[in-house]
Symmetry: C2
Subunit: 327 residues, 2 copies
């Protein structure tokens, strides 16, 4: 393996000092440092001839930035089973990283303790990057707290409750999106609503349920939370909002199986959670989560954290999907 050329080598060849090579390379024209045109040309010629490129490692050692953004996920991102969930986020992240000229570091080395990666372990590599985007339905509270206390620049994708301090995040406005769905359903004449899903645990679930409760209260209609729903538990309700897309789809199929009409006898809406893969052909009414945009904005927010030591918190609007299961 041919030894790599250094600025010192170039300097020797051009008969100047290493400092001069550096100045020429960076095209410095300041009043304080001047290089004669002939000298500059001579150095440039040697650089051209040798194809010399500055060693980025050494270069980055000097500034404190290395233009590397970390992406942490609690599990592998590429397996196809998880692709539907991660991919749109990552698409946005990659896009924005490319725009600001940063490389992306995937923390695949994080020791998988009990099948789940850890942000902090004996030799946490989280600080490899200038800053870090955290991705996952739920994030460990202790991890968030430690990130905050250690002053590690990061942004969460998805809203997060305070963890010993405000957590910088870019989320989706599930609360408003769910309220909007209820509003629309009320306009269709619905008065008896059921919310199907956990409604707690992850912030994303809690936000949805909260939006639901606010909306039914505002309209003065009946709204019940049914954590795990079979069709039998939904007798009497005319509109069901299912956190999970797959749950919504299953309900539609089950209802039609029993000869019920959807949306004739029962309206079903989905709240976009895609923990499990779901059939697409049903055309569920609901909303889309701006995953890609969230990825983009997260990287932008991270640059704000890095440059202004800010704590950005932002919720992006979800877009209504008409579908065919509300009537």
């Amino acid at each position: 393996m041919a030894k790599r050329l250094t600025q010192q080598d170039i300097a020797r060849m051009a008969g100047v000092s290493q400092a001069t090579v550096s100045l020429v390379l960076n095209n410095r024209q300041d009043a304080s440092v001047r290089i004669a045109p002939e000298t500059r040309a001579r150095v440039l010629e040697v650089i051209r001839r040798t194809g010399y490129v500055a060693n980025p490692i050494a270069r980055r050692l000097h500034d404190h930035r290395n233009r590397i953004l970390g992406v942490f996920t609690y599990e592998a991102v590429f397996p196809s089973t998880r692709a539907d969930f991660y991919q749109p986020f990552l698409e946005g992240i990659e896009e924005q990283a490319e725009e600001i000229g940063c490389d992306l570091l995937l923390f695949t080395s994080a020791k998988a303790a009990g099948g789940r990666r850890r942000i902090f372990s004996d030799d946490s590599r989280i600080r490899l990057a200038d800053g870090c985007v955290l991705l996952g339905r739920s994030l460990d509270r202790d991890d968030l707290a430690q990130l905050l206390t250690e002053g590690i620049p990061f942004v969460s994708i998805g809203r997060r409750d305070d963890a010993g301090g405000p957590v910088p995040h870019v989320g989706a406005d599930y609360r408003a999106a769910v309220r909007d769905l209820v509003d629309r359903a009320v306009a269709f004449g619905h008065r008896k609503f059921a919310y199907v899903g956990a409604g707690k645990g992850a912030e994303s679930s809690a936000d949805r349920l909260r939006g639901f409760r606010e909306a039914v209260a505002a309209h003065g209609v009946e709204g019940t939370h049914v954590p795990f729903a079979s069709l039998d538990q939904l007798a009497g309700f005319t509109a069901v909002l299912a956190e999970e897309v797959s749950d919504g789809a299953a309900l539609v199929l089950a209802a039609r199986d029993r000869g019920l009409s959807v949306p004739g006898d029962l309206s079903v809406m989905t709240l976009g959670a895609a923990t499990r893969p779901a059939p697409e052909e049903i055309g569920l009414t609901g909303f889309t989560i701006p995953r890609r945009e969230m990825g983009r904005r997260a990287v932008q927010a991270l640059t704000e954290v890095l440059e202004k030591a800010a704590t950005p918190q932002e919720l992006l609007p979800c877009e209504f999907v008409a579908g065919t299961t509300l009537g």
Copy 2:
């Protein structure tokens, strides 16, 4: 942003010298450098408390290792349009990287000149990583040559012709796979073969065509290369091998449109290239490319390059897919 901790900081807190911290951190036990157990424990405690991690940049500057593996692609990897192609490879790469405790660096910063990323530019960051996996249907010859002459450790996914020297790669054995398909078709009685596709340009295309030529020659049957095929050009042939899955699918549909039976009147096989998305429901006869395994092996090969300065070259077998379009 809180200033990043240095070994000097740790040293101060533990009341020792920076050198001592380094020695403890690297768990050096040599006879020449000894650290008292109490001192060691004190330093480790400070490290644990602060969550200190050595700056990989500085570390790399000194010992030329940082447990970061680069992944270079000429375009973004996450957009869904490219996901089908990249994903299986990346899945294998991620899996193996996780196993050997390395992080993955995606070179999103590579300047996109004319929409295509460049490995080498004014500020090439390729050397940030210990080594690099190159991914893409075709790789720039000049880039490969430069990687070789600069002695940058890398492995190509996909076989590559020499570029001023042998190129380390992990590819798929298209040659053998295509020969196998022809063998099977001959066994079915076919004697007039057409090869549809470029058959040149990328090594993967050339290898397929080469396998085709070898097989028809070995059997003494007729074999013609038809770069861009419409159904009309295929009159007289009884078996068609299409490089592109989508081309094969289109041929089947076109043939059936004209009232021809597939495989009754015409057999169609595909050679697995998936540049464009293709319908899956046809059940084309052909073979699968072991993309995921290629990703895994590429990372393993890269470790061989790094540890033994080897130049691994390996072709993995493709698996026959019976399908329904050969008879």
